[in-house]
Symmetry: C2
Subunit: 213 residues, 2 copies
């Protein structure tokens, strides 16, 4: 398996920063149906096996999921402090979640290996910490806080019960995001002049070009 140069470089940057947990945090930008730009930090969950597709997980009730349903594009962004490198990775997004009947729903065609989707989906659930799993059984993101309910939850210890944190019972709100890159803008601020390389995927081959920063 020969990976594109930018992916090898990204793996190197992650390795150099392995002592910093925040090196696994990237930013994902998207566009709302009204054409408004959005961006937030997400946790990098590795590459889909033997590919350059990047993985993340989220709550299917979060705004970004409905926004991606209307426009399946994302630019991912990393800035590495020690090595002073920036990666901007333009991607087609695939959302894997559950429909109302708790069957697997796949939104998007950016990632071709649809056969292994179910396995990838449960694997990613199993890789989560108990604490992260319990988050998917909490009230919906951005919903109004019900203070009475919250104090009852605390009494009952709801969010740490075995049921909600089991590796087997996947929350119906669990969503896997697969980002399939097709354009990468790499910037190295350590060199003088700065190094900037543009990569683009054409006919399944990655091409690169050095440009002025």
């Amino acid at each position: 398996m020969i990976y594109p140069q930018w992916r090898q470089q990204l793996v190197r940057s992650l390795h150099v920063h392995r002592s910093k947990p925040e090196a696994k945090y990237f930013q994902a930008a998207n566009v709302t149906s009204n054409g408004i730009p959005k961006v937030r930090t997400m946790v990098f969950r590795g590459f889909a096996e033997n590919t350059s597709a990047l993985l993340a997980v989220t709550d299917s009730r979060s705004e970004k999921v409905s926004e991606w349903r209307s426009s399946l594009k994302s630019e991912l962004h990393w800035y590495f402090v020690k090595s002073r490198e920036q990666y901007r990775i333009l991607c087609d997004v695939t959302v894997v979640c559950q429909d109302n009947d708790e069957a697997l729903e796949i939104v998007g065609e950016g990632y071709a290996q649809t056969k292994e989707m179910k396995q990838l989906y449960s694997q990613q659930w199993q890789h989560l910490s108990k604490r992260a799993r319990s988050g998917f059984f909490c009230p919906p993101p951005k919903s109004a806080i019900d203070y009475q309910q919250n104090s009852e939850d605390e009494d009952a210890g709801q969010f740490s019960s075995d049921e909600t944190t089991s590796e087997q019972t996947i929350s119906q709100h669990f969503a896997l995001l697969i980002f399939a890159p097709y354009q990468v803008d790499y910037l190295d601020l350590k060199t003088s002049p700065h190094t900037r390389i543009l990569y683009s995927l054409r006919n399944q081959h990655w091409q690169s070009k050095s440009v002025n920063p």
Copy 2:
């Protein structure tokens, strides 16, 4: 002058991280005319005096400037490592640059104090380091590298000449960006459960609401 709570909190977060130069780096997202999301790191250059508008500078030949000309919206993003806080600041963008006759051109109406624009523009140029100023006299961002030209430049030491780094001679490629916020999404990951507060500007007043994370 009473500032909105999110701005006071942001100033505090910047102060807590003042030993880290990268704390001044934020991400700015925008949308291209084709509806593609974009995001990159920029350097925070402070607030416009007595306002909550955020400042940044860039090269007017960069892609983001022409993209903002077609859609004057941006979401700015900060993630602070030590305090585990995320800010997402949705803004109207004003681009201040020079037209072909080197007169000041103002694109966008998000920032009302247009009188002081000229002063703000030259101030920001003067605040740049010599090195940063010289960048505006370099070949356009993303242009093909002319290796012959580059070696001649090195011989002549072009990019450190006094002319190109003077405080007085503002490069015709220098652009000031003014981000006028109208919606802020604040997330504090240190608390349990996480704290999320939404702020929005209505009739010139900021309102806030605590929601589930």
